[in-house]
Symmetry: C2
Amino acid sequence: MRILIIGAAGMIGRKLLNRLVLDRMIAGQRIDAVQCVDVATPPMPQDIPFAVSGDAADICDPAVARRLVERRPDVIFHLAAVVSGEAEANFDLGYRVNLQATLSLFEAIRAVGGDYRPRVVFTSSLAVYGAPLPDPVPDDHHLTPLTSYGVQKAACELLLADYSRRGVLDGIGLRLPTICVRPGLPNRAASGFFSGIIREPLNGLEAVLPVDDDVKHWFASPRAAVGFLIHAAGLDTGRLGASRSFVLPGVAATVGEQIDALRRAAGEAAVRRIRRVPDPAVARIIAGWPRAFTADQGRSLGFVAESTFDEIIQIHVEDELGGQIAA
Amino acid sequence: MRILIIGAAGMIGRKLLNRLVLDRMIAGQRIDAVQCVDVATPPMPQDIPFAVSGDAADICDPAVARRLVERRPDVIFHLAAVVSGEAEANFDLGYRVNLQATLSLFEAIRAVGGDYRPRVVFTSSLAVYGAPLPDPVPDDHHLTPLTSYGVQKAACELLLADYSRRGVLDGIGLRLPTICVRPGLPNRAASGFFSGIIREPLNGLEAVLPVDDDVKHWFASPRAAVGFLIHAAGLDTGRLGASRSFVLPGVAATVGEQIDALRRAAGEAAVRRIRRVPDPAVARIIAGWPRAFTADQGRSLGFVAESTFDEIIQIHVEDELGGQIAA
């Protein structure tokens, strides 16, 4: 199997490559080669048991898209995106990367022609939904994106379905839960605190909580996200409906429940590192977000996430902290 | 007011221009000029009481889009589209005209900048919906387009909402009912018979009916469609939700009810000109289409369609047959 990872330098892309190195197999077959691409050269793990390449390239350039599919990768993970806040701040960049680059990729695949019909695993987002939303949101709830990012993802889902129906590619669109606990430094995303209030206290650092304890949201670990991608690569897409995109299973947790899980994992001292600084602007943004999903389709297709927020913390401790919580 | 009609040579575009000539006003203000554009030079009515221009141009060319908005039209009717069957047969053409040209238009408007924020009335389609569908379909039913045309229209609706939210334009997307009775020659659209079984018998000609009498669909007259466009041009878009697109009111009628109305209008002799030639391929296509809508949002916004299929026939007789039915 030949694999192409677009957006390979991002957090999920790097974890995906690490997982492929461990698995050596995908969709029941041996991995022969992995091409990695991102705007910056993706970092490479050690001792890779297959051919691998890592390139810095602008996927918005149709010539780049054509070059990427030249070697006819069997599975394409299209993870590249300008994130929500950036797509809102930079209108041009968002449309170029999140919409036109996806279209360029699909067109490049179509240009290969013949019997080429790769599996395309596309990461969509909960941002395709917008308030008012029921709790939980059922699988057939209508899409009402309220951000440019959400609009771009929803438009790509439509294209993915049509290019699949027309036999150009074999697409599957994954509306990922909010990934938590996101490793690394705090970022300025409105959702950043959901990870920050766990990650920072576990590192002995203070974290700011800008919303109330009863705010509820939909989470999965980075490890679960990589599992979703791998499962999607091997899935019988005949089991998907015409839309090809759906919400992945996750854990619905309130901020209060997150904090209770932190207390169970690391004690009251860790919880005391959370500083409550209400931010009405953040609260307003979060109020428009989904709180929970039934995710029936994703579950019935065999996608598996954590079942408690305690598990999500445990995975963070195992995968990012070497199994140890700082005293 | 300066008006731009894109797709002015089509059936609805020509009727819209005729209506503007009669009204001389739009959105409560005097019409100063109307620019008309289409792939072929649009025909011009006589005695036009305002400045008018008619151009043949390819709106897929971003330079053309920029030229069209150069004079800052206050209202843009974007009616141009490659129809469903053609978008299915010609993948490239469909995406170029139905998606990229719309995006080029929106980008051209954005490039004007400053305080320019035109009203954009965009004609969408019932093709954004796909089976399985409830009867009637409620306003918040999720979109599941099953054709390239439907995907392109749904993607444009998303863009219309986002470009509106971002203040680039002030959009309104109209999911028009199937227009009936469509004047002119029979075409090969799967929906063509809905008009054919009325139009041809009224002209003393035979019409072929390829489906059962219990097939139900959602209709409005060409006159109602023009009324929708005019109403949309003057509507307070603050009353629209974030999505900006919705289904227009119409008449739900079965083929049997269409035929009953034809009998009331033109007698049994006309009905006898309908020849039943079942076509399983057409029946299969139509089975995926919506049968009726609540259209609550459209009605509450003041859009008005016919209330019976008899009215739809009467309008055809008045507008296309000079008020007279051939013996």
